[in-house]
């Protein structure tokens, strides 16, 4: 279970998160939506303590991440897997070395076992026979799938997705969504994604949280949020520019 209490974070004088509160139960499939630059990725990075808040708490199974130093956080992060917006594959390593990274660091598996686990992880994301390739030789969609394989190989309990479909064509995006849904179903993980892609949010979530002005503005089952009549939620979900809007920001 993840709980965020009164989370504040700013970069410079402008606060991005202004007392955000949320609670996500084990096994949920949650999507956080909100405007670009509205703090979704910042919030996601707080959940795994990649950023430290100015104020507030992030609790993972009751443990406050803000009280831990970087080495203590490494143990907590073992519960998490994360897919980054641009996949963040290590470009000096091959696909095999990227996917088996955690296993190689742990030194608990033989080379044969690691080969088998990497093949299984790549199979799950529908990629075969690319172990020897470098990330630079892969398309954007393939990179994200390799990133997903790298995140699931050590069977984390919580998977975080930062804009999983950004930069992909609709078909590649839908394929990533299918994989995210399949991983959630088969591995029984808690799935938390941030996106402003409503089609993606519909496909991969059971519950949607909307971040607006640094706080959780709306929270409910996906169907309810996507059909909400609240003007802020409705306008965002349907891409409607409010009549009184002064800018495209």
């Amino acid at each position: 279970m993840i709980e965020v209490r009164d989370l504040w974070k700013g970069f410079g004088p402008q606060p991005v998160l202004r007392g955000t509160c949320l609670r996500i139960e084990k096994g949920e499939a949650v999507v956080i939506i909100g405007r670009s630059g509205g703090g979704k990725s910042v919030l996601l990075k707080h959940l795994i303590a990649l950023l430290q808040p100015d104020r507030g708490q992030v609790l993972v199974e009751g443990q406050d991440l803000c009280c831990l130093d970087e080495r203590q956080l490494l143990q907590v992060r073992r519960k998490f897997g994360m897919l980054f917006q641009m996949a963040a594959l290590f470009d000096s390593l091959t696909v095999y070395e990227n996917v088996s990274f955690v296993l190689q660091r742990e030194r608990r598996h033989t080379e044969a076992q690691m080969r088998k686990l990497v093949a299984e992880a790549l199979e799950m994301v529908e990629l075969r026979g690319i172990e020897g390739k470098k990330p630079g030789e892969l398309s954007g969609g393939m990179r994200k799938r390799v990133g997903l394989a790298r995140a699931i190989i050590y069977r984390p309990e919580i998977l975080l997705y930062d804009e999983p479909t950004t930069g992909l064509d609709p078909v590649a995006g839908a394929r990533i969504d299918q994989l995210i849904h399949r991983v959630w179903e088969q591995l029984h993980v808690t799935s938390i994604a941030v996106t402003h892609d409503m089609a993606s949010a519909r496909r991969i979530s059971k519950r949607i949280l909307m971040l607006n002005e640094g706080v959780i503005y709306a929270d409910g089952p996906s169907a309810d949020i996507l059909s909400s009549t609240d003007p802020v939620v409705h306008n965002f979900v349907n891409g409607i520019v409010p009549a009184d809007s002064q800018s495209f920001a």
């Binding site: 795994i48 990649l50 490494l74 994360m82 980054f84 990274f101 955690v102 995140a151």
Partner: protein
């Protein structure tokens, strides 16, 4: 107007020093608690040590030859031609060898380290490392620090040897100094302490270059501009550190070894 700017600069300097000390401390902590990756260490040793040889050998040879020629031109006026080898040898072993070799390492290796780690930072690869339960210092800094600490004295020794040999070639074969006296005086006036001083300096310079360059890469700001700035600062700060530290190390080590 001047005082607040000065205060700001001093505060920035101490904050940077604090961050550097923190990274160095984390690296030592990492070395105490876990075995570094042998493979990463060897890769870095190859990159820092083997691939820097051409630049370090060229630097050593050029310095040895020029130092020999200039010393000879001055000593020849007072009929001390055969002391040229001693001056070159002592100078190369204790001062010019470690300083110039490490300045070259700072330029070549420091820039590469900062650029590589900086690019990893701006493409979220450092964050990815952290999500994979890996401390960036363990994986990125420790192998580079160990490799630079081992490679710098070896490269310095190579530069010194090549420099002395090149100076002998110039002195004995081009300038006409008697080879036997050249070598005899060199052996007579070069103490083991001179060699040890140079190697200790190079070891410390290598460690400083690695820590500074890794810190600059890991604290890189966003975008291509941030990577460029980090790379420049890594080279500048490493070079200045080598030059300033050399002065204090000369004082300290000379007192230590020669009383």
């Amino acid at each position: 107007m001047v005082v607040p700017i000065l205060q700001q600069r001093v505060r920035y300097l101490f904050s940077e020093l604090g961050e550097l000390a923190h990274i160095a401390g984390e690296a030592i902590r990492s070395l105490r608690h876990q075995r570094p990756s042998w493979r990463d260490f060897v890769e870095q040793l190859h990159f820092i040590g083997v691939k820097s040889q051409s630049v370090v050998i060229t630097t050593g040879a050029a310095t040895g030859m020029v130092l020999c020629a200039q010393t000879y031109f001055q000593f020849h006026k007072v009929k001390m031609d055969t002391a040229t080898g001693a001056v070159v040898s002592v100078g190369m072993c204790s001062e010019l060898g470690p300083v110039l070799a490490c300045l070259m390492i700072a330029g070549r290796v420091g820039a590469a380290m900062a650029a590589e780690l900086g690019t990893m930072k701006v493409t979220e690869q450092i964050d990815a490392l952290r999500t994979l339960a890996t401390h960036p210092v363990d994986y990125l800094v420790v192998p580079r620090l160990l490799a630079a600490t081992v490679a710098a004295p070896l490269l310095t020794a190579e530069a010194v040897a090549v420099g002395i040999f090149a100076s002998w070639m110039v002195g004995a074969h081009l300038l006409g100094i008697d080879s036997a006296y050249y070598v005899a005086n060199m052996n007579r006036y070069t103490a083991p302490a001179d060699v040890v001083t140079g190697l200790i300096k190079a070891t410390l310079f290598g460690a400083a270059i690695a820590v500074i360059s890794c810190y600059k890469g890991l604290s890189c700001q966003q975008g291509a501009e941030g990577v460029g700035k980090a790379t420049t600062e890594a080279v500048v700060y490493s070079s200045i550190t080598v030059l300033v530290a050399n002065f204090f190390l000369t004082l300290f080590l000379t007192r230590l070894f020669k009383g």
